[in-house]
Homo-oligomer: 253 residues x 2
């Protein structure tokens, strides 16, 4: 949509949040020798990809997924602008895991070669920022695990939407429409498409999601967070902590 976001703004916000220095962003972007566009539904990274390069999502939304034995896609996480798509392969190359990354919208990807990454990581501030990003990734997985394990479909879907909304806002994207389909939600929440559809209709009838249009559009964030019992503070977003924390306070009323 807003193609001018390719400047790396979200990435800059994210690095700053992780404690990197101002010039770390410039140096990182300098190492990007190539950018590619990927249309929606295409693979950004194949399930058997072994290229010696790290990809960073600049524009759009992707998901990392795994194929189940029955052929269905299981979405493990979403990536938003500023997120690395396959940093794990660079850091822990031993890990064998057939995971692909697919574009959910039209995307722009930055590519950095491994040999250039080596140089980048000699900067301690950047290295520790990326370490924090890894820990944060683990925390996000952990939180999703806790929301998946228990609770009704309504709560699980609401939690998923809250997480994505908060992460988008954390990188400066404040659109109420979420950039993925009900099918994507189903594959990510571990629910059937049919049931996700009914769940979303429930959320619409509660005036939490917009009733107009096909897109998943959040119109009552506070209520959504209440349903999800979502406490956004785990995402470590100082600039947003207040916003989401306030909602938690409200819940106690």
């Amino acid at each position: 949509m807003f193609a001018d976001c390719g400047s790396g703004l979200p990435l800059g916000l994210k690095l700053k949040r992780l404690g990197a220095q101002a010039d770390d962003l410039d140096i990182l972007l300098l190492a990007v020798k190539r950018r590619v566009s990927v249309p929606a539904r295409d693979n950004v990274i194949g399930e058997a990809d072994t290229a010696a390069q790290v990809r960073i999502l600049l524009v759009g939304t992707t998901c990392s997924y795994k194929r189940k034995e029955d052929g269905n896609r299981s979405i493990l996480s979403f990536q938003h602008p500023g997120d690395f798509c396959d940093l794990h392969r660079y850091i822990v190359p031993d890990v064998k895991s057939v995971i692909g990354v697919q574009a959910l919208t039209d995307c722009t990807i930055a590519i950095i070669e491994y040999r250039d990454m080596d140089k980048l990581l000699s900067r301690p501030t950047l290295a520790s920022a990326l370490w924090r990003a890894s820990k944060l990734e683990a925390v996000i997985y952990r939180e999703r695990l806790s929301s998946m394990g228990a609770g009704t479909a309504l709560k699980r879907v609401a939690h998923l939407l809250c997480e994505q909304l908060a992460r988008l806002e954390a990188v400066g994207i404040h659109a109420p429409q979420l950039p993925f389909s009900q099918i994507d939600v189903a594959d990510a929440a571990g629910l059937s498409i049919v049931h996700v559809n009914r769940t979303i209709q429930t959320l619409r009838s509660l005036n939490v999601l917009s009733k107009a249009g096909r897109a998943i559009e959040v119109v009552d964030r506070k209520q959504l967070a209440r349903i999800a019992e979502f406490d956004g503070r785990y995402l470590s977003m100082p600039e947003l902590a207040l916003k989401w924390a306030v909602q938690i306070e409200d819940m106690r009323n």
Copy 2:
């Protein structure tokens, strides 16, 4: 049980696997000024703990958990000897998340003060080993997420048992009995205690788990991995990759 394991053997194995150097272990252990014993069922770390120290599990098994609004415990991950219990709090202190760590067996914990951690991390080999540990943690969460989201209770429980068995073996612990109860499995798999019990009885009737005694004792690992569709290679354990990978090969017959 084997109190002489307090020497740090599992921790050494783990660090070695993560690419640390031989003397990194010694230096890490030198920073441990205090060790504590925690009896089974006690909290290792309270849900509101803010002490400026990092804990490493030396002996026993712990879980990190979260209380759900209904008061029930939801287990997010297990820790085995050599694992850090709360490294994330040191690295990403902003993250607010009410997570506790509970001893499932009698445990021995090593404690390192934050100020000593700062010194330790000036060693690049140790810092990058801990970075890898963080990524590996994220990978483990991701894999659990993929097994939780889909599949029947039988598969989910089997996957959980496989993961713990493999991780225990990775640090040199080769006992067939798993160090936790059916209740713990239920809280970790997001299933009711009753249904976990029935699932385990199914596994026993399939001669996958031992029929004698209360403990969860794996007698047919190959079959268990087949049921779980478990591919242990994601754990990045070179010394065990062969073992578990072979089973995957067998599955194709």
